[in-house]
Symmetry: C2
Subunit: 417 residues, 2 copies
């Protein structure tokens, strides 16, 4: 089955009224891409028979693979299973393996098993069951006229599990078309227009089968190259060469030649150097510690964070002087320096990052306007400070403060600043 | 224009390769719903002429309002504007207001203005410009055959700004159809099947124009009622009555009769009671502090958090005894009790929450399996502890630990536990 073209259909009114943000589609798209499967479109529809059937009919014409998520639960708004059964002309019958699994789950939780739960063991007799070890709704794999439809539960960790264990290995065997390769260069410090201007000769020389895209995000720009070709090795060499050209051209602003987060950049920097860091966070409220600890293994270099939201905590725990806060303000160069050096001692780390700012919407003054964020990074030998002014809403200002703080720490550790 | 039916089309290859999670659509859907505008479908397509034109042609037949986001930037992958201009048979002409705004932005940033930036001031002469105060790409409003197409930049804060200030007020004047009202009841402690079982008589008695949906998420279930009707007051009274029935039936597990987050539940509880809280976070790494400080005004009740990821920080900063950690382990009831009581002193707060666990994938032992999380909440009079076992991946285990911790704190403060 060459060049599989996929469409992802997500089912659920919660997606159409904005109650839920769809994270499933992005994850599925990534995994399909890894197999060289192109995602043509994503469609979200409501929990109605008409909407689902209509989407199936339309997307069926465009795609050779349809991945459906949602609508497989045990409640009345879950209508996907009987509908697919009917669509492919099957009959619902009990699958013994799923039935045994359901009994086991409810037994383990010491819960009575309800008729509506046992109904989840009924599957269309014309599909392959994709066993769901982590939940009660099995996935389903239908084939018709050389096309494939995969139906998965909408709960993200169940969907991911079934994809990893059941669906992707099967798809891998079928996917043998053109290879798709993405290469990303991650930059900081320049806007997309200016980067595009510097890349005009590069863009003009790009061959037809390689596309470029600019993804600006919170003060950073990712430049993505997407190539398509028949031969993996040939395409990889070509992409590598182009990526190197990008890195050379944009050398001063490149921080990584892959699509990574700042927390993993920091993780890579710290891994194996035997050093540790910790934070003194005020306006970020613990967000930087949260990002850092998303990575397994962060405990080898991250010791902790003093979230000193209240000035009393800055004084009592970090040892910031009362006079400094009174005379210079909680959002000032002097305060973040004392926060960083205080944290160095109390957390007993090699490096610290301190952040204090006014994120808004309120709290700004004539002297310290909303959006002002002071940062300091320190080791026992030196302290480096920086002030930034963000003009967005509270949430985005926090995001920016955390990212710019991590960037400053990364540059400091790597001797780039 | 009665009963506007909307479709949201998001444009960008980053959405189809999973590089970006689409948060725009959920936000847009919520806002449209508030005006009584129903969202029929959401479609994501790539940055190609064919994909965009095809989506426009198809969705045009289904909807009376199409909202497009993305593809309006200054780089070569941004093709939406000329394409829409052509689709509606217009000509690109310079808009003086936008041109002046661009010069002002680049002037303020002390940046030279490039030709590709000035191109952003060119708009189709057959659209209404939706001025973008926060960025360089203007929004556009087209009308044809009684239908509306709105094109917006994909950068979330710019999109939101244009919607709020320019698009929604105009749409509000046009939307005069049936009202849509959502009511949510937020529960904790029971699975969706069991809740559905308890609600069988309730579901059976629901009138045709009111739908029910179950949204399970991380140990919580939200039950949503969606009603549609001609008269606001009549429908509101009806929905209120049904919501009250739900609350009565599910009284023991209801934690709120609205769609709120745990951080805002805690905020509401603390607001005006003159008390404060703080945290001692180990495995959550600062995530609970982060969630709490997402809310403006949280500084009145949140003093800070000691993120004691390393045991040394638990001992040195929180005063957990070395013997406790050695004999009972860092993930134990004894340790979280000492963390909570230590934080009570050092943060000088009325309430504290302490969390310590093993999130995985590694770190589990025979005695403390991966997924085990101990929590303690305390005030000066008492300490309450709880242990939970989560079976998911690291990220989800952290999410669950944070939410269950906040729930325990909320119950403790409200005397429910």
């Amino acid at each position: 089955m060459n060049n599989i073209q996929a469409v992802i259909i997500t089912i659920g009114d919660e997606l159409l009224i904005g109650q839920t943000i769809d994270t499933n589609s992005a994850w599925i798209a990534q995994r399909l891409n890894h197999l060289g499967i192109n995602v043509l479109r994503r469609v979200a529809v409501g929990d109605t028979r008409e909407a689902i059937l209509n989407a199936l009919d339309e997307e069926w014409l465009k795609a050779s693979l349809i991945i459906l998520t949602g609508g497989l639960g045990p409640t009345s708004d879950d209508i996907t299973k009987p509908l697919l059964c009917e669509y492919f002309g099957g009959t619902l019958t009990v699958n013994e393996e799923v039935a045994a699994h359901l009994k086991e789950i409810f037994g383990r939780r010491n819960r009575p098993i309800l008729a509506r739960n046992m109904k989840q063991a009924e599957v269309p007799d014309n599909c392959t069951v994709l066993f769901n070890k982590l939940g009660t709704a099995p996935g389903m794999w239908f084939e018709k006229n050389g096309k494939i439809i995969i139906s998965l539960p909408g709960v993200p960790f169940e969907m991911k599990h079934i994809m990893e264990v059941e669906a992707l290995p099967r798809l891998k065997q079928l996917a043998e078309g053109d290879v798709i390769i993405h290469r990303t260069v991650f930059t900081a410090g320049e806007g997309e227009s200016f980067i595009a201007e510097r890349l005009m000769p590069f863009e003009a020389a790009l061959p037809e089968h390689i596309k470029i895209a600019y993804l600006p995000d919170s003060g950073f720009v990712k430049i993505r190259l997407t190539g398509k070709g028949a031969e993996v090795a040939v395409l990889e060499a070509e992409m590598m060469n182009l990526q190197n050209q990008l890195v050379t051209t944009l050398g001063d602003i490149v921080i990584a030649n892959e699509d990574v987060t700042l927390e993993s950049l920091l993780g890579t920097t710290m891994q194996g150097n035997g050093k540790t860091f910790g934070f003194a966070e005020s306006c970020t409220g613990g967000y930087i510690g949260h990002l850092i600890t998303q990575l397994p293994g962060s405990s080898t270099y991250f010791k902790g964070s003093i979230v000193s939201y209240d000035n009393e905590v800055k004084e009592n725990v970090l040892g910031v002087k009362k006079e400094t806060i009174e005379q210079k303000g909680a959002v000032s160069e002097e305060t973040v320096i004392e926060m960083a050096t205080g944290a160095l001692k109390i957390l007993n780390t090699d490096y610290t990052l301190a952040v204090s700012g006014v994120l808004g919407p309120d709290g700004g003054t004539e002297r310290v306007k909303t959006g002002t964020v002071w940062m300091a990074v320190a080791n026992k030998d030196r302290v480096l400070t920086k002030v930034q002014h963000f003009f967005y809403d509270r949430e985005r200002n926090k995001e920016m403060a955390a990212k710019m703080g991590m960037l400053l720490l990364w540059k400091f550790i790597n001797g780039k600043q």
